[in-house]
């Protein structure tokens, strides 16, 4: 991707041709199959796509958290500050995880350990990575809880996850993830399990922490509205591939890939009530049996012979090269937007 030229921030994370596959009963599931994207220092990259498009697996691959087996790496590079995370030792990875790169998950109840206090869990990270003793770790936990906006942090620090509400638990997760001032925060559907008013609080929190700490965020979600308000750049994934990448404004003003256009048109947000919603016919193909050529062709109204014969690559469509699309018929996709 050549988009990095236009922004000044250095590239913090660069993923090149990543392939993460899984062995299953039906053969090999190519969950992530040749994905490239990069995250610059201080920016938020949004990754959007529907269930099974590989967005979460690509994030788990960065953290080295893909269960192996059945998962395995089938190629590519994950460069974090120039270091290939797929090649480093497990020890080195452990040093980076939770320290340089940390992650928050969708379900804050299952991601927290129910038998330890939240102070314990936040403190564990810092005592591990920064060698703080028990007391210092607890103090640090109180500071972190305060930072993520939990009232009465001195009291909450000794509570267990079940004593907290869903929104509070997600704040604790964020406090844990932020405890070591990571360079990169991976947020995998961080607000999907939360109500809208709490979602707004949590997203505002992530944004303000990002600004004050200067970290990068990889925001993974299926929600186009969450992306619109929080990401600087967006990668749209479909069936294990990035099909479109652009600046958030460019993408929402003028999407070019037929899948992206279809996604926007199926949103009920702005649809007039007396007309049926536009839909994308059919369903996402199974990762065991992706169609050859363009993977979207089975659901695409523009598909022609070329689409099954030849796989489209991400090509620049804007003059600055910052907007890339993988489609053979980019010039015709405007007709879909009507």
């Amino acid at each position: 991707m050549s988009a990095e030229k236009e922004r000044d921030g250095e590239v913090l994370l660069e993923i090149k041709g990543l392939r993460t596959h899984f062995r299953g009963d039906e053969g090999i599931a190519r969950a992530v199959d040749g994905v490239s994207y990069s995250v610059r220092a201080g920016e938020t990259l949004g990754i959007v796509g529907e269930s099974g498009c590989g967005k979460s697996v690509s994030a788990l691959s960065i953290m080295g958290l893909v269960p192996q087996p059945p998962g395995f790496n089938a190629g590519g590079e994950i460069l974090y500050r120039g270091e290939d995370l797929l090649q480093v030792s497990e020890n080195r990875l452990r040093e980076l995880r939770g320290n340089e790169i940390s992650m928050i998950f969708q379900e804050p109840m299952t991601a927290l350990n129910p038998v330890f206090t939240v102070g314990n869990q936040i403190g564990e990270t810092v005592s591990l990575h920064q060698g703080l003793n028990r007391e210092q770790a607890r103090e640090h936990a109180v500071v972190m809880l305060d930072k993520v906006g939990i009232p009465a942090p001195e009291k909450r620090v000794d509570e267990y996850p079940h004593q907290l509400s869903g929104g509070m638990r997600q704040r604790v997760m964020i406090a844990m993830a932020m405890a070591c001032k990571p360079g990169l925060l991976i947020a995998d559907e961080p607000t999907t399990a939360l109500d809208v008013t709490i979602q707004a609080q949590v997203l505002d929190l992530i944004r303000s922490l990002q600004e004050s700490e200067g970290m990068s965020v990889l925001l993974i979600t299926h929600d186009l509205a969450v992306i619109a308000e929080n990401a600087h750049h967006v990668a749209v994934m479909y069936a294990g591939k990035v099909v479109e990448y652009a600046d958030v404004m460019q993408l929402y003003r003028a999407p070019r890939h037929p899948y992206t256009i279809g996604l926007f048109r199926s949103l009920p947000d702005l649809a007039p009530r007396d007309q049926p919603l536009a839909t994308i016919e059919g369903i996402v193909p199974s990762a065991f049996h992706f169609p050859g050529g363009c993977r979207f062709r089975t659901r695409c109204s523009l598909a022609q012979e070329r689409c099954s014969a030849e796989e489209p690559l991400l090509e620049p469509v804007s003059s600055d090269g910052g907007h890339t699309v993988a489609c053979h018929f980019i010039d015709e996709t405007d007709s879909l937007r009507a």
Binding site: T197, A225, V226, E229
Partner: protein
């Protein structure tokens, strides 16, 4: 769309309450109640879509289930007007009669994975009610089921397959076919599209709309996704801690919300437009426990404009227009 006309309502809910007792100790002493639904009233006209919106724990799902008597109510009444004959009070109907009325009142559940029996074929799932209610015989049930499956956009031969062979969207279609099998007049859609991806969600929403037109269905649509609600509803009721705080037509709620909670809720919804200026009404804190709701207006502790009187008494519903009611002391 049809605005509530002055006809006989399809269903009339008044003062509906559902408390769940909380028991503690070896003697299981009754120590408190979770007031999941605490005095809810509304009507649904034939062919109308009323949406119940609110955050988790506000009682919207319990309200839908109690209305259908899937949960026994604590208090209140639900009057249902069948196509022929006098209106019936659902909560005082004897079992046998309630069973007959159930043909008219159906429900579609949120989770298409857990709401279909994995050991039954799709044909049996959809056909079961037809046999129970003796609408079909064993001989002709297969044809009726095939018609229903085709109507909801599945292949007729799906009836021999099991739920696990289908995707989420397809399973939800099976759930819809099951709800339609008996020719209902009111369908409670409990978060019926929440578990689906947007492109599939759009397909199912279109289907629900088409079916409403074709079979003249009334919908009680329970959802937390306000953009879906806006697209589908004729009227909207906003719930907070077991009570309706505001009810009105879709336009009234979205363009002229009067209750501070409705305003905050609407402002918290993100827009799929990166250029949109967000002017959030910040809401601090979480929804209080329905076991121990705050005195006075339940929303007062989180309300940005609350006054002293708000913590003293629960506000009465006031009319903002013929169709628009608000429960807030500050409204006049």
């Amino acid at each position: 769309m049809n605005t509530p006309a002055a006809g006989t309502p399809l269903i009339e809910v008044s003062g509906l309450k559902k408390y769940f007792p909380v028991k503690r100790g070896v003697l299981a002493r009754h120590v408190a109640d979770v007031k999941a639904v605490d005095g809810v009233s509304f009507v649904i006209q034939p062919q109308e879509t009323l949406s119940l919106v609110g955050e988790s724990g506000c009682g919207k799902t319990t309200c839908g289930r109690t209305l259908l008597r899937l949960l026994e109510p604590t208090a209140g009444s639900v009057r249902y007007s069948p196509e022929k004959g006098p209106a019936l009070d659902l909560f005082s109907l004897p079992r046998a009669e309630m069973r007959r009325v159930r043909r008219d009142l159906q429900i579609i559940f949120q989770d298409p994975y857990s709401s279909l029996n994995p050991r039954m074929t799709v044909g049996n799932i959809v056909g079961e009610a037809l046999l129970v209610h003796k609408i079909c015989t064993k001989h002709d049930v297969a044809d009726t089921v095939a018609d229903l499956l085709v109507r909801v956009g599945l292949h007729a031969d799906s009836r021999n397959r099991f739920p696990h062979e289908f995707s989420g969207g397809q399973r939800q279609r099976v759930g819809i076919a099951r709800a339609l099998a008996l020719g209902p007049r009111l369908v409670v859609c409990d978060e019926a599209v929440s578990a689906l991806d947007v492109s599939i969600q759009a397909q199912v929403l279109n289907l629900l709309k088409d079916l409403q037109e074709e079979f003249k269905l009334g919908y009680l649509f329970i959802a937390h996704d306000l953009s879906v609600v806006r697209y589908l509803s004729d009227r909207i009721a906003v719930m907070y801690l077991g009570r309706i705080v505001e009810i009105g037509t879709t336009a009234e709620i979205f363009e002229n919300p009067q209750h501070p909670y409705t305003q905050a809720l609407l402002s918290a919804v993100p827009h799929a437009d990166p250029g949109a200026k967000s002017c959030r009404v910040p809401l601090s804190g979480d929804v209080p426990s329905p076991m121990n709701p705050p005195a006075g207006c339940h929303f007062a502790p989180r309300c940005p404009v609350s006054e002293a009187r708000c913590t003293q008494s629960y506000p009465e519903h006031r009319s903002a227009s013929e169709t628009h009611r608000v429960a807030c002391h500050l409204f006049d």
